[in-house]
Amino acid sequence: MSKVRLSFLLPLLAFAVLALFGAIALYSTLLGSRDPAQLPSVLVGKPAPQTTLPRLRQQDHNNENSVTLTEFRGQPLLVNFFASWCAPCRVEAPALEMISKNIAIFGIAYKDRSEDTAEFLQQFGNPFQAIGMDIDGRNGIRWGVYGVPETYLLDRDGVVVLRHAGPITRGIIDNTIMPALEDLGS
């Protein structure tokens, strides 16, 4: 008699287990610990790829023809991929301006023309210490860039600490970038 009852309950039990898995997945999504829209980055925890790019000429800067990532060693660094043709990059311009008081920013103009980039900087401000021109986007592929804007936080040794895809906002600065920067001891 008990055997019959067990086989009757078995599908119900299996369903309960499945429902439990579903509930866990749903809850972790709702609570924000697992966000399916969050783009994964494999670069976090690894040294940033070697980057040497043609330097965008600016009046008040040195006359080197190229800019290298290693120039910024010894201090935490933000690497910001942007472009003049990218609308969210205009949105994040004020936030970048704000955080540039706390940390050096290396700008990489992604698939952009120098004259367009220069015009963009004139219009929306220039928070960057230096700007490298990634004209064909190959450098972006080496960083695993999905699209602009995209921002990476590097520690003193050039190791990637975090990556943010999408425009930087006040909230991102306060809740994500500044705490990570404080962890780096700056």
Binding site: K3, S7, L43, I141, G144, Y146, G147
Partner: protein, 208 residues
């Protein structure tokens, strides 16, 4: 790009309806007719999406790849196409870079072709892109600790199903043999004897 040929679809639909109208009266009972009607309905429901894909394949949607990307050597180009089909377009997420018109997809296609021209092997090229974009870029996830459950689950579920069936069959009550009286045994005897003699008669006839 999805292309649905509504002309062909409606033609097919009308043929199915005619088939039902012609053959339904031949089915004797009402439940049987109902069952037939329902199964045809189910078949149509299942077939509809399939037919659209068949027609789509037939009409070949526009290629995402542009002429200037294509390699001169057809062998290398074939390799590039095969590799591109295994790589996810990261901005569109459910297309391969071979299918996608997105800028990043084109850049990755160009990168794949550049590496092929440089003489790298397929494994090296895939591995390089994977190191930058993670397993996520692969449509065919590798078997490692993180994906073990994904790969082994089907085998596990199959085993689970088989063991449930075996257990269920084993726990089935064995049908009790009915009590046979002496007269029943006598009847069985006579039945077996007549059958055996009939068989031997048959064999004899064949010999002749």
């Amino acid at each position: 790009m999805i292309f649905v040929d509504f002309g062909t679809m409606s033609h097919l639909f009308h043929r199915i309806v005619r088939l039902i109208k012609v053959y339904l009266p031949f089915l004797p009972t009402k439940p049987l007719r109902r069952a037939a009607g329902f199964s045809v309905f189910l078949a149509v429901m299942i077939m509809t999406p399939l037919t659209t894909t068949v027609f789509t394949v037939g009409t070949t949607p526009a290629l995402a790849i542009t002429p200037e990307e294509i390699l001169v050597d057809p062998k290398l180009e074939a390799r590039a196409r095969a590799l591109s089909k295994q790589l996810r377009c990261l901005v569109c997420q459910n297309q391969s870079i071979d299918d996608s018109d997105a800028d990043l997809a084109r850049d990755l296609r160009t990168e794949v072709r550049r590496q092929i021209s440089a003489g790298r092997s397929d494994e090296v090229i895939i591995d390089q892109i994977r190191q930058k974009y993670g397993d996520y870029v692969l449509f065919n996830p590798p078997l490692d600790r993180g994906t073990a459950f994904l790969w082994l689950a089907p085998i596990g579920f199959f085993g689970l199903g088989v063991s449930i069936i075996v257990l269920a069959r084993r726990s089935l009550p064995i049908p009790a043999s009915p009590d046979l009286g002496a007269s029943d045994h006598a009847r069985i005897e006579t039945m077996l004897i007549t059958r055996n003699s009939a068989n031997s008669n048959e064999k004899d006839r064949h010999k002749k």
